[in-house]
């Protein structure tokens, strides 16, 4: 099973998926909203990673990211940033909570 991103194992978006499923939207709109969720999480994660790296490792990371070598990307980060998975999990949880709140507000 191919991993989609180097941090996919840290992402749990079932709640968001279920909330979006309950919205009064068309199938195409639903798919588009899910892609926006993915894009926001992705950019948040990459931003956090870049904040943690020195200039040389930033280049190495972006290079690995563009090659989509997820195992290599994660291994590089683990070597260079302490507790990287915990840090990313915290950021992902934060952004998913914000997105959930946005859905609740949109319903009102």
């Amino acid at each position: 099973m191919k991993r989609k991103h180097f941090y996919s194992h840290l992402v749990e978006t079932t709640h968001i998926t279920l909330e979006i499923a309950e919205l009064d939207v068309t199938s195409g709109e639903r798919v588009h909203l899910l892609s926006l969720v993915e894009a926001n999480i992705h950019t948040t994660v990459v931003s956090k990673v870049l904040d943690e790296l020195d200039p040389l490792d930033k280049k190495k990371f972006l290079s690995n990211l563009s090659l989509e070598d997820h195992d290599k990307t994660l291994a590089h980060l683990k070597e260079n940033v302490s507790d990287i998975e915990e840090k990313l999990k915290k950021e992902i949880d934060k952004v998913t909570k914000e997105l959930l709140q946005d859905i609740k507000e949109a319903k009102n």
């Binding site: 998926t17 309950e22 993915e38 989509e68």
Partner: protein, 289 residues
Amino acid sequence: MQGKSIHYQKLLKKWSEKHKDLQRQIFEKHKDAFDWLENNSKQLVVGSIAGIFMLTNPIIPQIPATFSAGLSQQEPVDKRVFLIYDLKNVLPSDIRPLTSDEEAKVTEVLSRTFGVNAVGELSGKRLNSQYGYIGQEQHLARFPGDNMYAHFDNPEESFEFGKHGMAPGLGAFRYFANSRGEMTEEDNLREKYYIAVQTFLSPGFNENVREYMDFYKYRKMLVVNPQNGRAIVTDIADSGPAAWTGKQLGGSPEVMRYLERVDGSQKGPVLYFFVDDPENKVSLGPVGL
């Protein structure tokens, strides 16, 4: 197909702006690194660039007619959304055996979605539950002399699944084949995609142990994670877990990985139903949507 609903319009505006802000911040703070990437992109063997695409492109302001290669996996995701939603409306909030009404609704949803005949009762036999917690099992010896060095088809599988080790004892139905030479692909798949269920707790088991064990041996079951919509056709190759564990069934490392289920405090529920397949036409393994 243009978006018209209020919910969609509100979220589209909010999430597009949020993403634009994130993009602006990331490019401002890490301009040097992105400049370097741009200048060297020709030297990099770039794949489908989904990882960079979402960073460097503005979010499409309306529903795209077709999605780019990097976002092409979204149609199956959408089908899963409907499945998850359908199941959420039927399943009880606590993990317990389903009522006959719940079972009828769930099997209707699963049979319709996955194109297999999923049933709670087959040949007058049913398990103690159809909705329970799944635990992690180890690999089973397929033939005398099978071991962790010879168990996998390739190094990737060995790396991925070898860490779970091999159960010290045999499965409830002993070896899958008498020798390595007699192993068939079906035997191989039966071990790879096996589950353990509480055969011993099924109604009527104690009165007809032999008959029930014959029925359960390699019986196909559809197992579904209702929280992510992943489904896999498995077979019963072991009995367990014990009632005191608080779990109702166990899955091979390959089954657990596909369902994205783990053991311990993070354990989660699955649905499991017999596959009525008298002509043996349903293949073992993951079921696509």
